[in-house]
Amino acid sequence: MTEMATGYQLSHLEALESEAIHIVREVAAEFERPALLFSGGKDSIVMLRIAEKAFWPAPIPFPAVHVDTGHNFPEVLAYRDRRAAEIGVRLIVASVQASIDAGRVSEPGGRWPSRNRLQTTTLLDAIAEHRFDAVFGGARRDEDKARAKERIFSFRDEFGQWDPKNQRPELWNLFNTRIRPGEHIRVFPLSNWTELDVWRYIAREGLEVPSIYFAHRRRVFERDGMLLAENPYLTPGPNEPVYEATVRFRTVGDMTCTGAISSTAGDVESVIKEIAATRITERGATRADDRAGEAAMEDRKREGYF
């Protein structure tokens, strides 16, 4: 892929990268205790690379935080630890299991026993414990209609809540970073990126991503039109036969709510081709957590979700 600047004009990836670097530096300059959410998913991988570039040759001046539900894919956790060690960034793991053990939240049951929503409590507890005042997230506006309306610097009150009707106007490249103690800002440097931009950037930078993003053989079963990995936390029903298929994951979340897609895309270039041709959004294709209703994401975000 050629993405060279010509005649004082940046390519679209260069312009997006420059905007994101500006945002990351602005946070480092104006906040005392920032942190970067790093799940080992593709968006947070790109965000971490942006942070490396923003401060080079100095190290990234804030820690990475992972909210571990205990239901993550082992390949992704291994990648997470390896990548953090390579870069030399401090990794803080906030555990949903610990929140459950402490009685802060309780395990959901039913057909979709997802710990997705529980992450909010664990995340907010971690923010309070470490007194983080700014938290980087890899969310993109093209992912969801509520996210399409969210600011790059998104204010959270002392309860971690988002108020979509009371957002701070954002003009030019100026961001209002003022908060009171106990409040914080979620910062989304990849707001203007699309799924395709993220993959093109991964290709351009030669970034490693967890193996589950590429086609592999896996034992799966279907539930409500989604292809789920056989895993210790879900029991397939009598009408949900488990079979082996060639699949890959478009998003990386819990094994309990992240669906696979049938795919033979085995490398970054094939993934880019596949996404360029797809007619289904990534969250629509693969996320049970977004199927809880028309405004599922807006409701979770109001509570303090990513």
């Binding site: 679209h12 209609k145 106007p169 490249n173 100026l174 699309t194 289904i280």
Partner: protein, 420 residues
């Protein structure tokens, strides 16, 4: 492939959402599951057809009230360009959101309903876009199908808009007769309007020349962050990170540091991908200087004989966004480039009637969504250019220290403001 950021101004009644929906749909940027969701939501609401506005109106309150409240960002790409749409609400009470969406736009689309002609709202949109210095305006005269694709109607609206726009700071204005509903002149040329000689809207968006809209003449490098590893292999490294706001910068260039007034040279321009031979806006880079001078966030690098004005008394146009009105004597925070300073509102010279361009003098306050000419006294100098010369060094935001809310957007005057 480069990026074009454009804003859409108009209301649901003008067919704005239909137009955005059609651009997305015809460029294959709407996905099947999104369409399915919109169809479900339309049916659940009792509509008899799919309402494309639901694609952009993402918040619960917007869906319930059937209006756009907030700026929605949408993305699509053709082989020629990536597009970022800031879809902004048209109504008067959401002026602040339109200002937000248009501040960084390379181009704005103003929707005019052919059956109604130019309205107060279209005039207000034109004024705001002029004030915000949006370089290109495309007036889409929509619903041409309802006026029999009449050339006379189109030409009358074109003449009316041109006459009004003559009073405004100049943007480049283009007119396109369209029917968003039927797709005439949106993505493909309309066979219904052979008298129209221009290209369809998408062609215009793909080809409009925006490279020269940036200021590549006046070097402006606001220092954002000092990079000092202090240990390891780069223990003695000292660089100044920031995003170029104007001009070009090369190693060896002589630069003037503000506020010190000291002149030095650029020793190198660094990125993690290697040193650069030249940097230009909007690149984020790290600059090393030849001399060891005291540089910190909020400072500015420029050229010895081309420096921004260092001013404490600011004359600007303000779009007020605060819940409570702005009054003379109030103290606010100003954030301008990478510098923040306390400022006193010294004078509200006039309020601008955004429909008639009339200047109302002697008004005591500026209310939410109103525009006025204001004088501020800042507690320390800001390194400013007129907004018409550079949107990044001429624009600022106002913050209320008590509530921490962003309560205003300011544009430092120059020729970007209607002449007195």
């Amino acid at each position: 492939m480069d990026i074009l950021r454009f804003a859409t101004a108009g209301s649901v009644d003008d067919g704005k959402s239909t137009l955005v929906g059609r651009l997305l749909y015809d460029s294959k940027s709407i996905f099947q599951d999104q369409l399915d969701a919109v169809e479900r939501a339309s049916l659940a609401r009792g509509d008899d057809r799919i309402d494309l506005a639901l694609l952009t109106d993402g918040l619960r309150a917007e869906r319930e009230q059937g209006i756009t409240i907030n700026v929605a960002y949408r993305y699509f790409a053709t082989p020629k360009r990536k597009f970022i749409i800031a879809d902004t609400p048209g109504h008067l009470q959401y002026t602040r959101n339109m200002v937000t969406g248009a501040a960084t736009a390379d181009l704005a689309i103003v929707l005019v309903d052919a059956t109604k002609g130019l309205t107060d709202q279209s005039r207000r949109h034109a004024v705001l876009l002029g004030l915000l210095g949006v370089p290109h305006i495309v007036v889409c005269v929509n619903k041409m199908d309802l006026v029999g694709y009449s050339r006379e109607v189109f030409e009358r609206i074109t003449a009316e808009f041109t006459a009004f726009a003559a009073k405004l700071p100049t943007s480049h204005v283009t007119f396109v007769p369209i029917s968003a509903l039927h797709g005439d002149n949106v993505v493909t040329r309309s066979p219904e309007m052979p008298w129209y000689e221009g290209g369809p809207l998408l062609h215009l968006l793909e080809t409009v020349h925006i490279a020269s809209d940036r200021n590549l003449v006046d070097l402006r490098f606001p220092v954002q962050y000092a990079i000092r590893p202090r240990s390891g292999a780069h223990r003695d490294y000292r660089g100044y990170a920031g995003q170029l706001a104007g001009g070009t910068l090369r190693p060896g260039d002589e630069v003037l540091h503000l506020p010190s007034g000291i002149t030095t040279r650029v020793a190198g321009i660094d990125t993690m991908d290697g040193p650069l031979a030249e940097a230009f806006p909007p690149m984020s880079v790290t600059v090393r200087l030849a001399d060891d001078i005291d540089v910190s966030r909020g400072d500015m690098l420029c050229r010895p004989h081309n420096a921004p004005a260092a001013v404490q008394d600011l004359d600007l146009m303000v779009c007020w966004m605060g819940e409570r009105p702005m009054r003379t004597g109030a103290t606010l925070l100003v954030k301008h480039t990478t510098r923040t300073a306390r400022a006193l509102v010294r004078d509200l010279r006039y309020r601008l009637d955004v429909h008639t361009l009339h200047r109302e003098r002697g008004v005591g306050e500026l209310r939410r969504n109103e525009i006025g000419r204001v004088r501020l006294r800042a507690a320390r100098p800001l390194f400013c250019d007129p907004y018409s010369r550079n949107r990044l060094t001429g624009g600022l935001i106002l913050i209320d220290e008590a509530s921490n809310q962003t309560v205003g957007a300011g544009m430092i005057t120059g020729s970007a403001v209607p002449v007195e």
